[in-house]
């Protein structure tokens, strides 16, 4: 079982890396956006004297995870349904869980690499200092909860994709929309109308971005957050709830095929 899952993960990674379009346009896209945003707004500082480029770096990690976990998982699954990958595997003794663990390994690996690239850009281009060990620990759990929630939701949403060609477009609608309302592209969130702020707070992206800002920004920057505090307890709770919702949706909606059986 472990060997089979690892074998799936290996094959998933090989295929991802050999598809150069995916590597360039999916994987490096958040880093490109960060470079653009950071350069355009980089000379500005927040009221607390934190460079805007640094705020972008922290928040963009949330976008990076959405990209590698939610989009890659959702589009990958839709593609696997369409090109026969799932049909082929269904006809072998391989358990469904090994397939999902294999995808999970790919997503986890990509997400770690994505975060590393974004943090690397932050450190090398925008002089962002790295946090201490305690903050890294917090980073660890926020990162893992985010990756898990986003991947399971990606699996669930892929069930709505009828045609793999449209997968990217469909999956990117919630991703881009949530960036704007969750304090990733537009920060602080208090600029948003009150109702929109409330709607955004239902979804995990706001809490992911807020958590990563806690990790990479000085403590004084918390006055920019809604309620003026990092609220890590709420971050953990909301992400935890989305992990459970994602897992349930994923178990209920997982289908081997796009055709009605």
């Amino acid at each position: 079982m472990i060997a089979v899952s690892l074998s799936r993960g290996h094959v998933e990674l090989l295929q991802f890396l050999r598809d150069r379009t995916a590597v360039v346009f999916t994987f490096f896209f958040p880093a490109l956006l960060l470079l653009l945003f950071g350069t355009i707004f980089g000379s500005e500082s927040t009221d607390q004297g934190v460079a805007v480029s640094r705020v972008f770096t922290a928040s963009m990690i949330a976008y990076g995870i959405l990209n590698t976990a939610f989009v890659t998982m959702g589009a990958g699954l839709a593609m696997d349904r369409e090109d026969g990958t799932l049909k082929r595997l269904r006809g072998t003794p391989m358990p469904a869980s090994a397939y999902l663990i294999g995808k999970g390994l790919l997503v986890l690996g990509l997400s770690v690499a994505e975060a590393a690239v974004l943090i690397g850009v932050g450190v090398l281009v925008f002089d962002m200092p790295l946090p201490d060990a305690a903050h890294w620990l917090t980073f660890g759990w926020i990162f893992l909860l985010s990756v898990f929630a986003c991947s399971t939701l990606g699996i669930a949403v892929s069930a709505l994709v009828k045609n793999a060609r449209n997968a990217g477009a469909i999956l990117n609608v919630p991703v881009v929309a949530l960036q704007f309302v969750s304090g990733v592209f537009i920060h602080p969130m208090s600029q948003l109308p009150d109702w929109l702020e409330k709607v955004a707070s239902i979804f995990p992206v706001r809490w992911m971005a807020q958590g990563f800002r806690y990790v990479f920004l000085p403590d004084g920057a918390q006055t920019q957050e809604i309620g003026g505090a990092w609220n890590l307890g709420t971050v953990a709770m909301v992400l935890g709830v989305w992990c459970v919702i994602g897992l349930i949706l994923c178990l209920v909606t997982f289908r081997w095929s796009s055709r009605d059986r």
Partner: protein
């Protein structure tokens, strides 16, 4: 471990002795009130090459996909290797092999990577290189699947279907896109597998393929089996009238007779020149076309 393995072997052998590979009674599959499969009964013996023929949309693929465990049935009783494919688990899947018809997956892996990967799922898999050689792809071992021709791509599917040493192999239109030489090689491969005791279920559009390979075949039309038999006897083919043609005094003559013996004897007695004599019976294709035509 050894004891468990030997008792497993014993159990396998005893199931081979006392059970048919496939037993189907009253199989139905309904989509939105329409019967795609409208009551099929079928028995395939162990070690047999059984071919399912029929036009597109006749219910052939639906039937096979139910047998493979890919689709649920609406009604009927189905046993494949002694188990219900709708409920069977991974131990059962390890004993069957499926050659997909239109898969497009793993394009960025090499032939060897993909065969070795799939082999890893089976308890008693063949060696990847051995299977690649069997399907004649040794030269393409390290080529990405994306770069293969259509026929070579299908041979990868065959390799993946047989790498787990299946007792029962499903082939869905396996030679589509093969050149004539590749088809002959493929037929030899299927005969080799059958000689080793593999039961083979083949759906095909090519009647010459069914005739060359199948021990027994059935024609499906509109969700039912309309005829069943050996390639020689299907649809009353053996009993059909022979068509005897010859040239007599410069004019072409043709007669249809149940048994040409008497006619030939008479022609010989009359001293007719038999250089151009032909005796034909309906080809499998003629029989097939009249069978499916009758249901329209």
């Amino acid at each position: 471990m050894t004891a468990a393995r030997s008792s497993l072997t014993w159990w396998k052998q005893s199931t081979i002795r006392c059970m048919e590979a496939i037993e189907v009674t009253g199989l139905r599959k309904t989509y939105g009130g329409r019967d795609a499969v409208a009551g099929i009964d079928l028995v395939v013996a162990r070690g047999e090459i059984f071919s399912l023929l029929g036009p597109n949309g006749a219910g052939k693929t639906t039937t096979v996909e139910i047998l493979e465990g890919h689709r649920r049935r609406t009604a009927g009783d189905v046993r494949v290797l002694g188990e219900d494919p709708g409920r069977a688990g991974s131990a059962w899947r390890a004993r069957i092999g499926i050659v997909l018809q239109d898969a497009d997956d793993a394009a960025d892996l090499t032939v060897h990577e993909m065969v070795r990967h799939i082999a890893g799922f089976y308890p008693e898999a063949r060696k990847a290189d051995e299977v690649i050689e069997l399907v004649g792809l040794s030269e393409k071992r390290n080529s990405k699947i994306r770069t293969l021709s259509g026929g070579q791509r299908r041979r990868v599917d065959v390799a993946l279907g047989i790498v787990g040493r299946p007792e029962l192999l499903f082939l869905d239109e396996p030679t589509t896109g093969f050149d004539p030489e590749a088809r002959r090689q493929f037929w030899d491969l299927i005969r080799t597998l059958a000689a080793d005791g593999t039961t083979i279920v083949l759906t095909t559009h090519y009647l010459d393929e069914a005739e060359a390979l199948a021990d027994r075949l059935a024609v499906v039309a509109e969700g039912r089996i309309v005829a069943e038999g050996t390639p020689a006897t299907l649809g009353g083919r053996a009993a059909a009238e022979a068509r005897v043609s010859w040239t007599e005094n410069g004019t072409a003559r043709t007669e249809q007779v149940p048994d040409p013996t008497d006619l030939i004897r008479r022609l010989l007695a009359d001293g007719v020149d038999l250089t151009t004599l032909t005796i034909t019976r309906p080809t499998l294709e003629d029989t097939y076309l009249s069978l499916i035509g009758a249901t329209r």
